[in-house]
Symmetry: C2
Amino acid sequence: MKARALSLASLATSALPASFTSSARAVFKRLLAVGQATRPQLCQDLGLSRPTLSAAMTELSRLDYVEVVGQAQGHTGRTASIYRIGKGAGHTIAIDAGSTVIRYRVAYLDGRVLLTGTYALSSGQRHMSAEISRKVDDAVAQSLASCVPDWGPLRAIGVAVPARVTGQSRMVAPGQETWMFGAFTPPSGVPLILENNVNCAAIAEHNYGAAAGRRDFSFIQVGLKIGMGTVLGGEVVRGQNGAAGELGHLPFPWSASDVPQPETLEDYIGADALMARVRADWPDHDPPRDSIDLFRRAGEGDPAALVHVKRHGQDVGRLIAACVAVIDPGFVVLGGGVGSLPVLLPYVREEVGRLSYATEIETSTLGADATLLGIGKLAAAHAQSALIDA
Amino acid sequence: MKARALSLASLATSALPASFTSSARAVFKRLLAVGQATRPQLCQDLGLSRPTLSAAMTELSRLDYVEVVGQAQGHTGRTASIYRIGKGAGHTIAIDAGSTVIRYRVAYLDGRVLLTGTYALSSGQRHMSAEISRKVDDAVAQSLASCVPDWGPLRAIGVAVPARVTGQSRMVAPGQETWMFGAFTPPSGVPLILENNVNCAAIAEHNYGAAAGRRDFSFIQVGLKIGMGTVLGGEVVRGQNGAAGELGHLPFPWSASDVPQPETLEDYIGADALMARVRADWPDHDPPRDSIDLFRRAGEGDPAALVHVKRHGQDVGRLIAACVAVIDPGFVVLGGGVGSLPVLLPYVREEVGRLSYATEIETSTLGADATLLGIGKLAAAHAQSALIDA
DNA sequence: CCGCTTGGTAAAGCTGCAAAACAAACGTCC
DNA sequence: GGACGTTTGTTTTGCAGCTTTACCAAGCGG
């Protein structure tokens, strides 16, 4: 996760039409969360009276923030209209500026997908490069070109980046970092939200994945690099320098005789170092090609592979032990190319059990989509509050 | 900080008289925070109109929650009455059940002290013991005996303990842990609030000390034991098992060849281990008697002492590096018998600078009172919300 | 005494909500 | 097909909590 920081500043958001009553805000929020609902359902869920809800609907309809999509028939009584978020609420663009591919997705604020796409990078980019900037620009251009009136206004663009992100707001002023903005010119007047990619994955786990409904948990990504995203009290912990979860900075090696060196741990736990150790130690002339191969063989019972998987699981467990010692999240989701492999899990659990207090550990089920889902959620959430938290 | 956990449950709180308007709540809160204020000041600070404030005052006066303590004279115009919290709001008892002494303090909710006292323990109690329970009971009995009608009702009892505290609420049902409640029987009907002593010190730093006004920081206590209390977004991070900040559980020793052992770090960084290393390594036959002596000699320039102080500062810096890697608080306050010694600070800063992102580090100025101040604040805050968050 | 300023209260009005009453739509039973 | 019960949606009315406006009270200097 080592990368330079992005310093953030605010950008003028689009002018807002009006202020809403708190009930209208609640209705809008609820519709975003559940997708569709009838008025009686909304009354029930939000504890509002029918007249109040009626007023809220009138308010929201005036700007096309809600629309009717059908009728619900109880087995008796009048039919109820089914409402959802309308075109007036607009849409967002979410971009996962990953190490090997750029994914993008255009969606309404309630998550309905309008357009998705992928750009491959010419080679694995361990660090940000001009090519990423270009592809991000392509993704935005493609989205804008495909835009039709039915989508409503573009409310926010979110970009998940493999870098630290700093600043109070998640918005960035254009032109601050050439690697990001060298070829990418964000459309003016549209809020741009940057977020660290691991934090995005954590947000996705929180909203759609293994950590749904939890107030506190950590998501630990283990692959080529290591990183962590933490949610405490429902809020992402970002850190003063945007460096929360940069586990590569844990003091390592550290003992009575070893002096920790900066950023050593990432190079020790990263997949490259793992495979180097595996190859150096392999008993015959057919070592695993890559970490996937190693874990496959371990799953098939290969003793040499199991030794290294166990060893790696223990090291991951020690990462979690450090996390528990500091914040004791109680629940940890393992993700990333290596971390999400189930073969690793029992060894991780064993080591955490040996070193730490009771902590539930599960592997992620969201796969490679996690980051894109998370930045999408973030962009939608930003758009939502810009619209109704007047 | 290694100690058994306290499992918490709720206790019936005293019946509440009435519900307040939000303006009355705001006025009450404000008076608690600032101590004294005139009506115009409150209008200004809270953005309320004079009629609204008048209504709020009528509400609060009816239960003696506020009282007039004087008149304020501007250089022209009518005099304004000065208000503060009244007897009706009641008082709290705060107890620091420390390792060597038990301190207690009775105070109004706004912090005005009514009574303080100290009981020495017969010997340093590394773990909780029956004697602590007895002294806590003595402290409460003494407070109750001294109580006069002027103090108003007893609203809460807070106890800071050198143990993990778990559970949603800070209240504990009587009779759950014999070491705490073997000889201590809390008065029934009064909420009892338990909190870890390091978290209390952090709360004190947040309200009265070096971290005043900060939303995020960590307080690290270094002495016989090590522990950390963290505030993120103004809220104390307690952890699922109440184990957040148990730095003794950081993986140590950890390197390519060293296997971490449970709770090793506390015994390595604790003052006893430090002095053992100092004595083993001392060049002549006059080693420092204790850590205070060591740091005094270092302050006077003794090269042998400086070597060990520097070494210790580096180790403390590595603790902070671990904390920064996980949550990146941006600001750290050093406290405790060893941690608060200024001689240590430059070495800590140097090591953190070498290993981590920019992090401000200061030493605590609250001294031994920090824990008592913190638990007092917590008890008052609990009483406050019980009174007005109806 | 009068002007001037500031503290405090009483009366009227506004906002956001709910309860009650009313109106409309739908299925069912005779 | 029409009466009836049920559910949805709207109109009316009322209330809580606040602000604005207006007024009275208290202090100071001339």
